[in-house]
């Protein structure tokens, strides 16, 4: 029989405001096995913990129940405090009377009653708790970063800086990501390439960093400290080790009509190509969809001109397996497809462009070599209209758009408007907005500069329709402040399209068993306190894959993420979750039902000898669980008909005891 101590936390008035904590302490004090029951202002505070520790000592407690906030908040805190007094940490249970009681219910009587019942359930569970010992597993001292944008690069550099190996897997031929496509960055207006490419070079040259560009993660097995990842290295048809990046092949290639994705399809490239001059690795790639040699077997010019002999038309995809201790998702984002927005004429009017396309139109390395020319006739536009929130901040019923704010659009539009006005003062720039959101260092100043110094016309209101009107675009809009309808004849319309997680993120999340929200952004372990970790141990989040953010935020999150990764890799051994499945060999039938539902392959079978009746020996096939591999989901426990398979910490009897206490 346990000697249980019960501690009720006021959480200031968070709990005590709605729950009669004294009554709860009093009621739970009468429960069987409870030898001490009290309440306190803040249990999680140092003095609260001391109070608990003193009670453990004085009352020789064997189990502890804390009625407080969610176990997701402070379970670890209280477990640690209890273990300092020699109680096994798994003898501590939390009754969540804040999130599940005081914050939900207003009636004090009702809330108090519920708090008592939840306390009883926790007590009932503690009665059946067993001390659990965490096992240990070794750590592979290498990290994997999925995605080679600025987030991935920064994370990789920081991890490498700490002395650990890092692999970057990037699905396109070069690292660099979206930032490489940008022209200038807000609010400083420095050139994106100037600040990014040195980092790319650093990553490429760092001995600790291995870049698998033009590669994709295909399968992930294992668990924190011991991931085993299959990486598909897509065939480039160019030997990376031989190619010098001289670019001769790309000049000689006769197939010149391939839309250039780096320039958002606004100009063409060759079938063999290097995405941009500063690509890392600076290696050519043959686009198999367009290469005549690969398609028809006739051509082979690139091979002839390559002095290094790097061209290999017979190259095949290669799947390699690498081991990692931690994995970082840095899968980034894409602008949504604006084609769905018929009213803005994106699909039909060539002079309606997205913001990212505009970046390329203004970039010196872009299709127009940095001169702002409109796509339809390469004329200089005199009236430019920006439309904000295209696909952002939509209502739930809007299937085309996203419910969230894409966060970066207000600022980059201000940047675009300012740059246009600066370079082409004869151009009229209009920005249609719902709100202008400029929180951030020097952001509002930047925006005000656009309005006040550069004379950008900010109009609060939505654009209703954009139609082709001869050579011009007719923009119908409303001015909400003036309360009137506007018609603007524009030469160029720029849509600030929402950004969304990269399409590959979902399949990667599934492989990583990391959870995602409904918008396909990765879920963080805690929105405030653990923003760079996924709830899945050993999986970390870097950059926009977790939520919209700008470059400085991305970089700081990337570094934070690296710090967390380093925290894992710095350990020689990781303690495993002791709440794992366990098979009672005396009850096991060896039927393999459990094995079929185990997502980790943690269950194996062996023939074992047992004592039979009358001094006979029986050989039976029985299951056993590898505690380092088991993650403790409990799927097996329900598949097992005999009840041989049970889950430590969440045993059948414990859960039923909770059920009993709750339904009492």
């Amino acid at each position: 029989m346990q000697r249980i101590g019960v501690f009720i936390c006021h959480c200031g008035t968070n709990i005590a405001g709605t729950v009669d904590v004294k009554a709860v302490a009093e009621a739970l004090g009468h429960e069987a096995g409870v030898v001490f029951s009290t309440e306190y202002q803040y249990m999680c505070s140092e003095s609260g913990q001391q109070l608990m520790r003193k009670a453990i000592r004085e009352h020789k407690l064997t189990g502890v129940v804390v009625c407080s906030c969610s176990p997701r908040m402070h379970e670890a805190t209280f477990r640690k405090a209890a273990s300092l007094e020699g109680i096994n940490p798994y003898m501590v249970e939390i009754a969540n009377i804040r999130e599940h009681v005081s914050w939900i219910h207003k009636d004090m009587k009702e809330a108090t009653e519920k708090a008592i019942i939840l306390g009883r359930a926790a007590i009932a569970k503690v009665h059946l708790n067993q001390p659990l010992q965490a096992g240990e597993s070794p750590v592979t001292k290498r990290a994997l970063v999925i995605g080679g944008g600025i987030a991935g690069i920064q994370t990789a550099l920081d991890i490498a800086e700490a002395g650990f190996e890092v692999d970057i897997v990037e699905k396109s031929p070069t690292i660099g990501g979206k930032m490489a496509q940008l022209d200038k960055t807000f609010p400083t207006l420095d050139c994106a390439a100037c600040i990014l490419t040195p980092k790319m070079v650093d990553a490429g040259q760092n001995e600790k960093i291995k870049i698998f560009a033009y590669s994709e993660v295909e399968a992930v097995k294992g668990y924190v400290g011991n991931f085993n990842v299959s990486i598909r290295r897509k065939a480039r048809y160019v030997d990376e080790t031989k190619c010098t990046g001289c670019g001769l092949c790309t000049e000689k290639c006769p197939q010149k009509k391939v839309p250039n994705e780096f320039n958002m399809g606004m100009n063409n490239r060759h079938a063999i190509y290097i995405p941009f001059a500063q690509a890392v690795p600076k290696v050519a790639t043959i686009d198999a969809d367009y290469c005549m040699m690969l398609k028809t077997g006739k051509c082979g010019i690139c091979s002839k001109v390559c002095g290094a002999g790097a061209i290999d038309y017979k190259q095949q995809d290669e799947v390699i397996e690498r081991q990692y201790g931690a994995i970082v998702a840095a899968t980034g984002f894409n602008p949504i497809d604006a084609k769905a927005y018929n009213e803005y004429g994106y699909a039909t009017c060539p002079d309606v462009v997205t913001s990212l396309e505009l970046e390329r139109l203004m970039n010196a390395a872009g299709p127009t070599n940095g001169t702002l020319l409109r796509p339809s006739d390469n004329e200089h536009p005199h009236t430019v209209v920006f439309v904000q929130c295209v696909g952002s901040r939509c209502t739930e019923t809007d299937e085309r758009g996203k419910p969230y704010c894409s966060k970066i659009c207000c600022m980059y539009t201000a940047k675009h408007a300012m740059l246009i006005r600066e370079k082409y003062p004869d151009t009229d720039v209009y920005v249609f907005y719902i709100d202008v959101r400029t929180p951030g260092k020097n952001f509002d100043e930047f925006y005000r500069r656009a309005v006040e110094q550069y004379g950008v016309h900010y109009i609060k209101g939505m654009v209703g329709k954009v139609t082709q009107n001869g050579k011009q675009l007719r923009v119908q809009a409303s001015d909400l402040l003036a309360g009137e309808q506007l018609h603007i004849d524009a030469d160029l319309v720029v849509l600030a399209t929402a950004i969304e997680p990269d399409k590959t993120a979902r399949s990667i999340a599934t492989m990583l068993t990391a959870s995602m929200d409904t918008n396909d952004f990765f879920t963080e372990a805690h929105p405030k306190l653990r923003p760079v970790e996924s709830p899945t141990a050993g999986i970390f989040l870097s950059g926009v894959c977790q939520g919209p953010k700008d470059i400085p935020e991305t970089v700081s999150q990337a570094s934070a993420c690296a710090a967390k990764v380093i925290g894992v890799l710095a350990k020689d051994k990781l303690t495993c979750n002791p709440c794992v499945a366990q098979s009672d060999e005396m009850l096991c039938n060896g039927c393999s039902s459990c094995e079929k539902v185990c997502p980790y392959g943690a269950i194996s079978y062996s023939d074992k000898e047992f004592r039979g009746p009358n001094r006979t020996t029986l050989i039976r096939r029985v299951a056993s669980v590898n505690p380092a591999v088991c993650q403790g989901c409990g799927a097996c426990t329900v598949a097992c008909p005999s009840g041989a398979m049970d889950l430590k910490g969440f045993s059948n009897k414990q859960i039923m005891a909770e059920v009993d206490a709750i339904c009492q």
């Binding site: 060896g590 039927c591 079929k596 598949a639 059948n652 005891a657």
Partner: protein, 321 residues
């Protein structure tokens, strides 16, 4: 049939292929045959019997018997072979220690049906030409054999032997239109109140003798959760309606995807509760929701509860009326 089986058993015993034979031994009456292990030719000649009343599914005995010394010969009817195969799939039977002779079956007889016709004091049953001449102390009566066919055999799902080392008689086919879900459908078509009344009536008769469980080839646990004092759900008697429900629902759930629909549970129930209707409901649901699956048909097949698809139906969708 009996002669052929006995002859073959004697041969296999004589040539050392097997050292035991699992079959049926004679009873007190013409209809009460007991499963038995025969260890000698004399014993076989003395007690071995096979007739229309040998309905017991012998496969479950092989869990224990296949772990004994030497090989055992077993006679399995088509439906029994499914149970056997399922036990193979669950690693419960050592296949190499069993010699399976599949025996043809056109349905077994149920003496309860004869008794329900008012026949009592039965002293002999002569079987010929599809008829039973039932001799009783109250006089003789001729009954069409088909009128005495066991209920479960009237909706036989398969006359095919899914596993055997040799066959005596013909191998049949899976019966496509066996109508075995007719009663389930009838129940599904009822209102919830009617269904509740039906099942309450049936299950309230349960005396928790555990015959259904102990005879069931799928209920082969080392120790049943309901017998395990540490499981927290151990029960002994059918104390009240909840426990009757609990036992039968959980039992059906535990055998879901493993039950081959052999019908032994309903055959042995001393209270005549149609327990197979619970198992058949699960079978029918799984077939409808997750594609046709016959437990025991293929020991390598993935059972419906051991797999999933991303587009599976949602639990709240409902199925019955």
């Amino acid at each position: 049939m009996q002669e052929m089986m006995e002859k073959r058993a004697l041969e296999l015993l004589a040539d050392g292929t097997v050292n035991r034979v699992l079959g049926w031994s004679v009873g007190e009456f013409p209809y009460d045959m007991t499963p038995a292990v025969f260890r000698s030719a004399e014993d076989l000649k003395d007690r071995f019997v096979y007739n229309d009343f040998c309905g017991a599914n012998l496969s479950k005995y092989l869990i224990k018997e296949s772990k004994g010394e030497g090989k055992i010969l077993v006679f399995l009817k088509p439906c029994d072979t499914y149970s056997f195969n399922q036990l193979i799939a669950e690693h419960r039977i050592k296949r190499e220690n069993v010699y399976v002779i599949g025996i043809e079956c056109y349905g077994k007889a149920d003496v309860e049906k004869l008794k329900a016709m008012g026949l009592s004091g039965i002293t002999g049953i002569q079987m010929k030409n599809g008829e039973y001449v039932v001799e009783t102390v109250y006089g003789n009566k001729t009954v069409k054999a088909s009128d005495a066919t066991a209920e479960r055999c009237l909706s036989c799902k398969s006359k095919k032997h899914v596993v055997f080392d040799e066959l005596i008689g013909e191998d049949g086919d899976v019966v496509e239109d066996c109508n075995r879900f007719d009663m389930v459908e009838k129940l599904e078509a009822m209102t919830p109140d009617e269904r509740f009344a039906f099942w309450r009536g049936e299950l309230s008769r349960c005396i928790r003798c555990n015959a259904c469980r102990n005879v069931c080839p799928a209920c082969s646990c080392e120790q049943c959760v309901f017998d395990n004092p540490n499981s927290g759900v151990a029960q002994k008697a059918a104390v009240n309606s909840f426990e009757e429900n609990m036992f039968h629902i959980i039992r059906a759930f535990h055998v879901a995807g493993r039950c081959t629909d052999c019908g032994e549970c309903s055959r042995v129930c001393p209270q005549h509760i149609p327990l197979h209707l619970l198992n058949r409901k699960f079978i029918k649901d799984m077939n409808e929701f997750y594609g046709e699956y016959q437990a025991g048909a293929d020991p390598d097949a993935r059972p419906p509860l051991g797999t999933y698809t991303k587009g599976d139906r949602e639990p709240n969708e409902g199925g019955n009326k």
